[in-house]
């Protein structure tokens, strides 16, 4: 047993260690140490709680050790086996669990308030009830929202937005109903109202995410990250636990910033993403204007020849590269080029993957050194000085009409200036439009050479041609 003062200080230490865990991520070199700080902080928080309120019966200890063992085992297995392309799904799944844990902790506090120091059964402090209902509402919302996001990312559900008629009206009615329920619960502390809030938040979470299209999933995943933080903070207020309050605030602002970065990278407003409907049929009308202008087409040997004789090649990978599992072949190609004395760099658009920073992880997995990988704003001016831009599995993020064509749905979105390079090599299966349903002007430029085929097969063929 330790005194409450010591425990409070230890929780503060845990909170500070979590801050340092995020701080470590400012650089890949300090990141692993930061992660260890996070683990230590979590260990301190758990041990402090156990020392502070040590259960006196063995059943509780069995449940605690068994619960951590069971959950920990599942978590460790998932962490070890998940494929890096499936990272967005894993993160969405984890968000749903944070949401659900928040719901269950709030429910536990409702039925045994004395253990949490917020009153006695039937007489819980009104303030704790408000905090509890906010925590449970956000938690339940995060749970179903993340489940839908998971299903969309994992392909269990179509990425197309599902638009219910009058959905905005439905959302508003449900939102108002939620406020009424929270008010009623605060006044009466009736457990049934608690569960009504939970169910309503579960429904609302699902309804809010269903109309959002697959293209906007990076924003959704970031947004749910933020919500899981606010849910934790809500519970932190109920429990009066500083570690939980600090963490909730950190995670909440982290997710919010990532959502902002993703929105900006797509030139979309946060509100329009939330309202949903993007990436569906409405956008495909622009693509319907099929083009039969001629394009220059090349083979793997042409590409190999061009790049071998180049001074500088910038590779622009997109999610299509990851889908085709071409990253390893791509790195091999880059290695061969470097051996020929060619400078090779990678240019990453913020929404190149399915979640923030996803492409960087995929390249790191393929052993691409992180100091060869550059963000859009750091490398965009370099295209003009490079001989070849090698676009693999990306499309919309290279579309020059985002800069010039005011009628384009992606107008204003920051894009990579690949057209400034001496030659643009563009690997693509066919002439289909990109994710946003927009035709890419780049294909018809004089300095563009289309390489039609599967990204992995084409890259392997280039590797072979470079070997000769």
């Amino acid at each position: 047993m330790i005194s409450a003062d010591i425990a409070a200080l230890l929780y503060l230490v845990a909170g500070v260690l979590f801050i340092m865990a995020l701080r470590g991520l400012s650089n890949p070199r300090s990141a692993q140490q930061g992660n260890r700080f996070g683990m230590i902080g979590m260990g301190i928080a758990i041990l402090t709680t156990l020392a502070l309120a040590a259960p006196s019966d063995w059943v509780s200890w069995v449940l605690i050790i068994g619960g951590i063992g069971l959950g920990g085992g599942i978590g460790a297995y998932m962490a070890r086996t998940v494929k890096m392309t499936d990272m967005p799904q894993l993160v969405a799944a984890f968000h749903s669990l944070v949401g659900l844990a928040a719901v269950f902790v709030a429910a536990a506090a409702l039925y045994a308030p004395e253990a949490f120091g917020i009153g006695i059964p039937g007489d819980i402090h009104a303030q704790a009830l408000v905090e509890m209902s906010i925590g449970v509402a956000i938690g339940a919302f995060t749970f179903t929202g993340s489940i839908i996001a998971f299903a969309k990312l994992n392909g269990n559900m179509s990425g197309k937005p599902i638009i219910l008629p009058a959905r905005h009206a439905i959302h508003i009615v449900l939102g108002v109903a939620m406020l009424v329920l929270v008010w009623a619960f605060t006044v009466s502390a009736d457990p049934w109202l608690f569960w009504a809030i939970t169910v309503l938040a579960l429904v609302l979470g699902g309804l809010m995410i269903i109309p959002i299209g697959g293209a906007d999933m990076p924003v959704v995943v970031s947004m749910l990250n933020s919500y899981s933080g606010w849910a934790a903070a809500g519970i932190g207020f109920t429990l009066g636990n500083t570690a939980l309050i600090i963490t909730g605030a950190l995670v909440g602002s982290s997710g919010a910033i990532l959502s902002y970065i993703m929105c900006k990278a797509m030139n979309r407003s946060f509100i329009s993403v939330i309202l949903g409907g993007f990436g569906g049929d409405s956008a495909s009308s622009a693509a319907a204007a099929e083009d039969d202008r001629p394009v220059k087409q090349g083979a793997a040997e042409d590409a190999a020849f061009l790049m071998k004789n180049a001074g500088k090649v910038i590779i622009v990978p997109g999610y299509g590269m990851a889908v085709a599992q071409a990253q390893h072949a791509l790195r091999e190609m880059a290695d061969l080029l470097k051996k020929e004395g060619v400078t090779v760099k990678y240019a990453i658009h913020p929404v190149a993957g399915r979640m923030p920073g996803h492409m960087n992880v995929l390249l790191a997995e393929a052993n691409v050194p992180y100091d060869e990988v550059f963000e859009l704003e750091d490398i965009n001016s370099e295209f003009a000085q490079s001989d070849v831009a090698f676009v693999i599995g990306a499309n919309d993020v290279t579309n020059p009409s985002a800069k010039t064509d005011k009628t384009s749905p992606i107008y204003g979105m920051p894009v990579l200036n690949v057209e400034d390079a001496g030659t643009v090599l563009f690997i693509k299966r066919g002439m289909a439009a990109g994710y946003a349903g927009v035709q890419n002007e780049l294909f018809y430029r004089d300095n563009t050479m289309m390489l039609f085929g599967d990204a992995k097969k084409m890259t392997e063929d280039i590797v072979k041609a470079l070997g000769h």
């Binding site: 047993m1 409450a4 003062d5 425990a7 929780y11 845990a14 979590f18 995020l22 991520l25 992660n35 996070g38 683990m39 979590m42 928080a45 758990i46 709680t49 502070l52 309120a53 019966d57 449940l63 959950g71 920990g72 085992g73 599942i74 978590g75 962490a79 070890r80 990272m87 669990l97 944070v98 659900l100 844990a101 269950f104 902790v105 429910a107 536990a108 039925y111 004395e114 949490f116 120091g117 995943v221 932190g236 207020f237 009066g240 636990n241 570690a243 939980l244 605030a249 950190l250 997710g255 910033i257 970065i261 920073g357 960087n360 790191a364 997995e365 052993n367 992180y370 100091d371 963000e375």
Partner: protein, 120 residues
């Protein structure tokens, strides 16, 4: 005997309460921590390199599972009153979920970060 996390913060709050001449409510104190932590989070997260945004998400996932402290309190409740077994059961479920996240989140972050290598 039944010292709890709730009481801990109340101690901090009580200290602040005393220091402020009795004018400060515990909630105000917690709100101050919350608001300051949002600002800390804002600045710390902006300094995270975009290359590490995916590990940032998985690690924030792991640390937000510090909600496990609530689950532990619930699992450890004394089975005295009627409603307590419900709390114990809910606490156990929350404990399992949070543990999945803690281990899964930190380990997958570790796995990703180990892949980031420098040239040469």
């Amino acid at each position: 005997m039944e010292a709890t996390a709730g009481q801990t913060a109340d101690v901090i709050a009580a200290t602040a309460h005393a220091a402020s001449g009795g004018a400060l409510d515990p909630f105000t104190f917690r709100l101050a921590i919350f608001v300051l932590a949002i600002f800390v989070g804002y600045f710390v997260v902006w300094s995270v390199t975009p290359a590490l945004h995916t590990p940032l998400m998985s690690v924030t996932n792991a640390i937000s599972s510090v909600i496990v402290v609530g689950a532990l309190l619930a699992v450890g409740v004394q089975l005295a009153a009627d409603g307590n077994w419900i709390s114990k059961a809910f606490g156990f479920i929350a404990l399992v979920f949070a543990s999945v996240n803690i281990f899964g989140g930190f380990l997958v972050t570790q796995r990703m970060l180990a892949m980031y290598k420098k040239k040469g």
